[in-house]
Symmetry: C2
Subunit: 217 residues, 2 copies
């Protein structure tokens, strides 16, 4: 277990005092503090106080604030999108829309907290991509691969390139455009309508009948 946690944080110092469970708690606290106050306001003192962990331990184990934040992000590479496989691209994308909208507020608070810091710190930028972006892109990619294999869409369809950017772009930009916080239920309905009336038609598909009926009622 020790070697695993060393690997995750990218450091080689021994960390005999920190169990994987404790490490998980620490990382969750770091992400919560980020969501609450943003990156600039986060301090090692604040993390130490929230987690009742010695500041010297934090510095010894993680080296610096950006390294601690990057480790916390990498540790939460999550499985929220795995397991979606409804048998049709329409069904998969509507499920992805729901999963994205349900995570929306927590994820977009993190993206907003780190938006400026990642411009100055390459490692933080990479860590944010691994935590939030890569899982989204690879989920959508495998949905599109399966749709090609089933013959639902033609191989190399020109609209394919934009599907992930469309779903996550529209999801992330909606609160900005409408001037409000993300809202899982409303955002799910909005994104699923978006899948039906924009993404599927651009790929040459029609929305499933039950979705169209639900949208029209």
């Amino acid at each position: 277990m020790t070697s695993q946690s060393e690997e995750r944080s990218g450091l080689s110092s021994p960390r005999s005092k920190i169990t994987p469970e404790r490490e998980h708690e620490l990382y969750e606290a770091v992400l919560d503090l980020l969501r609450e106050g943003g990156y600039e306001a986060l301090t090692m003192e604040g993390v130490a106080a929230r987690t009742r962990c010695g500041k010297s331990t934090l510095y010894r184990q993680w080296g610096s604030k950006p390294q601690l934040v990057a480790a916390a992000l990498r540790a939460q590479r999550c499985v929220r999108f795995s397991g979606i496989d409804t048998g049709s691209l329409a069904g998969d994308l509507r499920e992805a829309a729901r999963a994205g909208a349900e995570r929306g507020d927590r994820d977009s608070l993190l993206v907003q907290a780190l938006a400026h810091a990642v411009l100055q710190d390459e490692d933080l930028r990479q860590a944010l991509r691994e935590a939030l972006i890569h899982p989204e892109i690879s989920m959508v990619d495998s949905m599109l691969d399966r749709a090609e294999e089933r013959g639902e869409i033609s191989a190399g369809h020109p609209a394919r390139e934009f599907v992930a950017a469309q779903i996550f772009g529209v999801l992330r930009v909606r609160p900005v455009l409408e001037g409000r916080r993300p809202h899982p239920a409303e955002d799910t309905a909005y994104l699923q309508r978006f899948v039906d009336v924009c993404i599927l038609p651009a790929l040459g598909l029609e929305a499933p009948a039950e979705a169209a009926a639900a949208g029209g009622s």
Copy 2:
């Protein structure tokens, strides 16, 4: 002129010492400082040093840092999208994509600098919307209105609701997805291809022949 600048900042105190030109310079400096270092790092001292303006003058005229930033944002409500009217929706949207991509880096640095602060400050959030979001939405709305009048798209087309969110969502999310800074020329080509293969087909339109030929070559 004085009454106009008072109105813009929302304050009623006289500001006999500040000419509109000087005010414009101050606002530009505030926005540059925001882009360079983010919102948290911006201080009234920093603005005073950059602009060679007394700190007491800044506080007297604008009251506080968030009020100064909001005034600077409101003053730059810009006309970057006005005047686009190519005679077809395809042409208008491709021009909008170019205009958005050309402003991309400057605008997205501001959005990123303010991303977390606007969650805590309603007035800042409103000011950011007025500066960046309202002009984009109303530009796209008038393009779609004209397309309806010309009969290019049917009135109340279900995909219409998503056009602005698609263009600006994809524009803003692309650097995040691809892990790099905005790039005007590449982003223009990418967004214009997106207009051709996703937005127009979802509205039931085909990309103009010259655009399709350019994309295929």
